[in-house]
Symmetry: C2
Subunit: 545 residues, 2 copies
């Protein structure tokens, strides 16, 4: 059997657009004489449709879109993902349908509904009660949907659900496994997927077709990287990463192994680029702006924006005050020049003086937080003025380490339509800058080598207020991403008081995170849509440990 | 049997504080010679603990707190709610424990885990597999937890779950039903609860003890209003509304009916007051500020803040521009005087001129959105400066109608630690103002009677940009709160184009809502923590209907 894998980029809720693209892929698969074409999870609606699923009119429109696909399947088998309503909005299923020659041959409902991290599928869907294979052209297809394959104790060390869906399907003697996924990318996830698929193909001894969505939808980015493993546990075909693609797999042919296909820092970088690009283009925006401080965070965001949107669409604005060094101004200007983006300089001094004259009538500087924050907020206002007047979207440069401990000014540097690197630790920001500079010095080296500072008062350095980033980031990675317990972190040799201080800083900054722009999720533990921590609570680690 | 209902106000995560209060109520119940004291759902952790439940150290601390309660139960039965971990964080239960004389007599796990609206319990908990009664002092107690009783087709017209827990318990011949709740208040919910409890007691013919938490935790407020129904379907005892209380119910006595106890607009008002008070006090804050525009929204928020925090702790700031009428200034000053709150006036003219001199060097006013928004943002900055310098928390005055359609300036009037009336429709704002003025004219009548305006340009009125509030609010209420489908709304006689316009305005404002301060939830369909709508999506009602 000749199977086409349609690794495509749907836009959530855009049923007309998704229909057109689905038809295009069906046509292409027919041209290539394929027997079957497989789309990702919820390919008609785009993933994640979220509360659109609670809208009666949306469900009806999905049904009409499905009818149109059904009428478009002459001479080929098509596996699409969509929502099926079995009862007035209270019995929704996340389903895969095998359709051919104008009729539905089989249907599989998702069995394991994830409700951790960024997922909340129990909000919408009911799980399948049982699964079976679907026969098509003499082959028994063992079809599953995304999470259905993410519950194997041998791979993950624990079980999250009581059912193992591949075991359940295997009882029905499948010839091949097919998984429709919309599996959000995070840096490091590719290696886990490879390990998982190698394990299953070795365990069950049949090939595995893994089809993943690509593109950005809200905070999530999907890398595609669809894969086909043969019955011997070897990767034999794969789709492109962060690019639409169609792969064709002939089950009767043999293929060489591609098992040395590995993830590297470029994946993280392209995830950021794709997150920005799809957020803009799917919203119909083309032009961005951001503040350039001469620091490493805004420099990286400028590079990502220039790659995502085209350098001619990006404006960098340096807004110096009395505390801004000449070095910062030179670095910002040089960066803009190297990148070829537009550049402007607007002093905040007169505005800062005007605020001081209102609040400090006696004329002196108090040196308090109010005066530090107002500088960041004036900058936020200037940027939003330009955004409103010129139809640009502001990008927020806050990184994950800052967002964790609340080291940013609400309505100041945290303004923007999207926190581009909000899930990237400061130490990873440096790694990405070195990746950007791999061939040429695009980001001036001085930006990368100087000590980080917010320049909101004389001689300020980040490390006056925060633990060193080398320590902070390691603790954050263990605690937030790898879910290592506090005692284990301390047992690894980290100072107890420093660890407690970091955790309490994280807790206290929750209120700021509630108002931060959407963060592109790129780690296995983000501070954006995956977090549901109370703001008002009385649990303090130094009291309770 | 003499049963004490401990309607108390826990603070999420504050195990020490909650332990102390629990012990106090146990003491009080002992003094009153009660046999049993019943606490609300998750009474030890406070509800909702949210992602604290993912923290290993929190679960360990909960276990230590439970051990302490167990050792405190000599001579009395105690039913507390807490989280029980049956397996390394992957098998958590939302449980009720009956403890007496230092040992656990019985345990009930929550069976129905809500995942709609603001609830996401499948993120944390596993459901019970079966339920049974617990015997104590010769009585068979049919214990359930909150949502367990919210799935009866006769009451709600549909079933959300396949299990009916009271039916399951009834098989085991209970003498009495006891439900531990943390049921977030919304305006109108009390009448639903009464109808539900009357139905159950008539259906099963045994008494019902309904214990509900009070207080505010993050966006949720809980009204208490615990109730006891006798076996004949009559309300016979109830707890106070928005106040801690202990009710004592002697199952051997008969009580007169209290069935005329009804909800009115004062409940909504006190919900707002409690939401503000607990947000401040549980966070250790005492002082608030807000901008006073001379309009109805900020006037209402000022009244709520003065009642919640004491008038001496509230500062109102009027920040006039060239577009501010004398009427607005007079109204704001009079309101502050009537309320007895602090009042300040700061002109934004010099700052506005400074921004204009940067962006309009030719000197004229462009009259664009950038110039309107910058005025709101200057005000946001001034207020945040005062907040930072004086240790005050800024209150955001945006109402639900504005938040729905995006009629507010991000980083401007939407700044604040809490959007107090963010779940109150504009027409309800007027109702609440009339409630505030029921005895005296606290809010100057002119504020209530004049046409709403943002005063960001000459002669501006809200209704130039929006449908009339009388139409807008009715559509919002049907669509967002009552979940009436678009076609039904249109069939009720609302103009199709107006309805489509409103829905598309709601969709387009999603990005603003992502950055709005936490909203006190007070309706059955909020734009805050209960909403998970995609920002980037292509579903447009005028295309798909």
């Amino acid at each position: 059997m000749k199977i086409a894998i349609a690794q495509y980029n749907p836009k959530v809720g855009d049923l007309n657009g998704n229909l057109s693209k689905t038809k295009e892929y069906i046509e292409k698969a027919k041209e290539k004489k394929c027997d079957l074409v497989v789309f990702p999870e919820l390919s008609l609606t785009g993933y994640p449709p979220r509360d659109l699923l609670l809208r009666d009119d949306f469900l009806k429109a999905c049904d009409r879109a499905l009818q149109e696909i059904i009428s478009y399947t002459q001479g080929i088998g098509v596996i699409v993902g969509t929502v099926i309503d079995d009862g007035n909005g209270f019995l929704l299923h996340n389903s895969a349908l095998l359709i051919s020659d104008g009729r539905i041959i089989g249907r599989v409902d998702k069995s394991l509904l994830p409700n951790y991290d960024v997922f909340e599928e129990a909000r919408y869907f009911q799980p399948s009660k049982e699964v079976k294979c679907i026969e098509f052209k003499g082959m028994r297809l063992g079809i599953s949907i995304c999470e259905d394959i993410w519950n194997d104790e041998d791979v993950f060390g624990h079980e999250r659900y009581s059912r193992n869906i591949l075991d359940e399907l295997y009882v029905h003697n499948p010839d091949i496994f097919i998984n429709l996924s919309a599996s959000p990318y995070h840096y490091g996830k590719h290696e886990i997927r490879k390990e998982m698929l190698a394990h299953y193909t070795q365990k069950y001894g049949i090939p595995f077709v893994y089809v993943n969505q690509i593109g950005g939808n809200d905070e999530l980015v999907f890398d595609g990287s669809s894969m086909i493993y043969n019955a011997d546990g070897q990767l034999i075909l794969h789709g492109k990463t962060f690019e639409e693609d169609m792969i064709i797999y002939d089950t009767d042919k043999s293929y060489p192994s591609l098992s040395d296909w590995k993830e590297d820092i470029s994946w993280l970088y392209h995830g950021l680029v794709y997150g920005v690009r799809d957020y803009f283009h799917k919203n119909g925006f083309s032009k961005a702006l951001l503040g350039l401080s001469g620091g490493v965070d805004s420099a990286l965001v400028a590079c990502i924006a220039a790659e995502a949107l085209g350098r001619e669409n990006v404006l960098g604005v340096m807004m110096p005050s009395r505390y801004t060094s000449q070095e910062s101004k030179d670095d910002a200007r040089q960066l803009a020049k190297n990148l070829g983006i537009k550049y402007r300089e607007i002093s905040i001094e007169n505005l800062f003086d005007e605020y001081l004259s209102i609040f400090n009538p006696e004329g002196d500087i108090h040196g308090d937080l109010a005066e530090e924050n107002i500088q960041a907020r004036i900058r936020g206002n200037l940027l939003m003025f330009i955004a409103n007047r010129e139809g640009r979207v502001l990008l927020c440069p806050s990184n994950k380490s800052e967002i964790a401990v609340g080291y940013s000014t609400l309505y100041g540097d945290s303004c923007g339509g999207m926190a581009v690197i909000g899930d990237v630790l400061k130490t990873e920001v440096y790694q990405l800058c070195r990746y950007v500079n791999r061939d040429n010095e695009i980001i001036p080296n001085n930006i990368i080598t100087k000590a980080p500072t917010a320049e909101l008062r004389e001689g300020q350095k980040d490390e006056d207020s925060l633990p060193p980033y080398s320590i902070l980031d390691k603790v954050l990675k263990m605690y937030i991403e790898d879910r290592v317990s506090l005692e284990e972190i301390i047992n690894k040799g980290y100072d107890r008081q420093t660890v407690y201080r970091i955790i309490n800083m994280i807790d206290r900054a929750e209120y700021k995170r509630r108002q931060i722009p959407p963060i592109i999720k790129l780690s296995d533990g983000d501070f954006g849509m995956g977090r549901r921590h109370p703001m008002v609570h009385g649990f303090r680690v130094d009291v309770y440990n």
